[in-house]
């Protein structure tokens, strides 16, 4: 990437933020998803509703939370409900427009692995944290947005384990709710799922990134959209607001580190 004004990681967060439409309801995972959703809230989508699985509805944190249940989320929320309520009435109830997630591995259908890497389920090489809220976010949110760093280790042909899917591919008789459209934002590009095949298709490159570069870092044989576009670089305002948010966050959490 030759434009030195911003990092690839900033571009990833900013492009993900742009996907957040004002007035939508987002169920937000911690980390980059949370940064992107809050960046959207602080720029073009002031009325986005952020829900964290700790039960905070309408959270408007001034600094990014380190955990899904930071006090900052409760203090700035419109209301705080119990964990069973957030999953039943709000997520499963069909009130979430966008589920905003990260993962250790994703495959070409946007299925997620957050369980193990290598070995068997019983004796894994690396044990990951597990499912959390993702298996049900994948089915109950109208759309899924995934944000993760692009590499052959993260965008893989074969997941070590399918933790979260949402696709009704096991049995025709099961008429449960299926997964909506998926968008994957990485530090190189944007992929959108084909509504027919559910396959993630390269739909937009970040500035100065080539299709070849993306292919090189993708674990599966990548399809490229006929209408491939190039995303706009970050605006001054996007960069300013994101950096300001991240600095505020660092200051707040480092402040505590100094006390320790």
């Amino acid at each position: 990437m030759s434009d030195q004004r911003y990092t690839a990681s900033e571009m990833m967060t900013i492009v993900a933020a742009r996907g957040v439409t004002n007035h939508t309801v987002c169920f937000v995972g911690i980390g980059i998803p949370s940064a992107a959703a809050n960046l959207a809230r602080l720029t073009h989508a002031p009325d986005v509703v952020l829900i964290y699985e700790s039960g905070t509805i309408g959270a408007k944190p001034t600094v990014l939370p380190l955990s899904i249940g930071d006090g900052e989320l409760a203090e700035t929320a419109d209301t705080v409900v119990s964990v069973p309520e957030i999953f039943r009435y709000w997520l499963q109830g069909g009130r979430v427009d966008v589920g905003f997630l990260g993962a250790a591995q994703v495959d070409k259908y946007g299925r997620l692995n957050t369980t193990i890497i290598g070995g068997s389920y019983e004796k894994p090489k690396v044990r990951l944290p597990g499912a959390g809220g993702a298996p049900e976010i994948a089915t109950s949110a109208r759309e899924v947005w995934l944000v993760l760093k692009h590499s052959k280790r993260t965008l893989v042909d074969q997941l070590s384990f399918v933790t979260s899917s949402g696709y009704l591919d096991r049995s025709d008789s099961r008429r449960a709710r299926g997964r909506g459209r998926t968008t994957l934002v990485t530090d190189l590009c944007v992929m959108r799922s084909d509504p027919e095949t559910n396959e993630l298709v390269l739909s937009a490159l970040h500035p100065h990134v080539t299709v070849e570069q993306v292919r090189e870092h993708t674990g599966w044989k990548l399809r490229v959209s006929d209408e491939l576009t190039i995303s706009d670089p970050p605006t001054e305002n996007e960069l300013y607001v994101l950096r300001d948010l991240q600095e505020r966050t660092l200051r707040a959490h480092d402040g505590e580190a100094v006390n320790e």
């Binding site: 069973p84 597990g130 499912a131 049900e136 089915t139 384990f161 949402g166 096991r170 997964r179």
Partner: protein
């Protein structure tokens, strides 16, 4: 009827080897002091249950208290992996740890079923996931009205649930506020309940629809100020993020972990002594 006592007596009265026990808290109000007291009393073969096992479960697992873990997400929030949890699963150290793994929505529904006196719960869950292949406690059931297939999971009914709350009144009525998590359901699902609180107060002054556990569903109330450290207690203290980061280093190495646990937990008599021991170490570090 709630009895007031110190945490040592409450744990010793109710937490026996081989039981199923849940120490719940969803990043907020985590009953750390209680978990450490269980380690001090050297309980074994526990079936630990928790949606989000974190540092205190890492400590319990690493010290060999657990034979089984039922959970939905195990990590050190905002930091990364739980090294003792990982090593137990990956290498069987200090002992083999059987795991039963669900999603958050499922675990929450299981506690609700337990609290509701139902044998199972249903949810729109696990579509396309491999988890049901490895967990016979995730089954499927058809709706008798629409024919839709839904996930079904059995009620959770721990022998003992321990939670930490902001305060209790003189009768033992408990108030939880802020991020209330799954604590009410975990308590109501259990046969016995211990609540550690920041403070015992004259009156809860609680809003009419607050999250309250009436004294008659609680066995023991123990005043343990700071008992949720390094997590936080809304209205009392913030989370100690620096400690959470430090835990990554302490827990990464078996020997370092064991020495730390020996020094700060096994060699201290209670949570107040543990906190003092940590403080002393910090001062040494700072002056070094």
């Amino acid at each position: 009827m709630a009895e007031f006592c110190n945490l040592r007596d409450a744990v010793s009265a109710l937490v026996k080897d081989d039981i199923m026990i849940a120490l719940e808290g969803f990043t907020h109000l985590i009953p750390t002091a209680a978990g450490q007291e269980i380690i001090r009393q050297r309980r074994r073969n526990l079936h630990l249950v928790r949606m989000t096992p974190d540092i205190v479960y890492d400590q319990m697992i690493g010290m060999g208290c657990a034979k089984r873990l039922t959970f939905s997400w195990g990590g050190n929030p905002g930091v990364g992996s739980l090294h003792r949890f990982r090593e137990a699963i990956q290498s069987g150290f200090p002992n083999h740890l059987a795991i039963e793994e669900h999603s958050h929505a499922d675990m929450a529904a299981r506690y609700q079923a337990g609290a509701s006196g139902l044998p199972f719960a249903i949810l729109r869950g696990y579509v396309g996931s491999d988890l049901p292949l490895h967990n016979s406690n995730i089954r499927f059931i058809d709706c008798p009205f629409t024919g839709e297939t839904l996930a079904a999971t059995p009620a959770l009914s721990p022998d003992v649930t321990i939670i930490h709350a902001q305060c209790a009144d003189q009768r033992g009525n408990v108030l939880i506020h802020g991020i209330i998590g799954i604590q009410k359901e975990a308590a109501l699902a259990a046969r016995h309940v211990i609540v550690t609180v920041e403070k015992i107060v004259d009156s809860l002054n609680a809003p009419v629809n607050a999250c309250i556990l009436p004294h008659w569903v609680v066995d023991y109330v123990c005043e343990v100020p700071g008992g949720a450290h390094p997590s936080y207690a809304h209205g009392y203290y913030e989370r100690d993020n620096a400690f959470c980061k430090r835990w990554d280093g302490i827990s990464k190495d078996r020997e370092l972990f064991l020495a730390w646990m020996e020094r700060h937990i096994l060699n201290t008599g209670d949570f107040a002594e543990f906190r003092a021991s940590l403080e002393a170490e910090n001062h040494l570090d700072l002056s070094a």
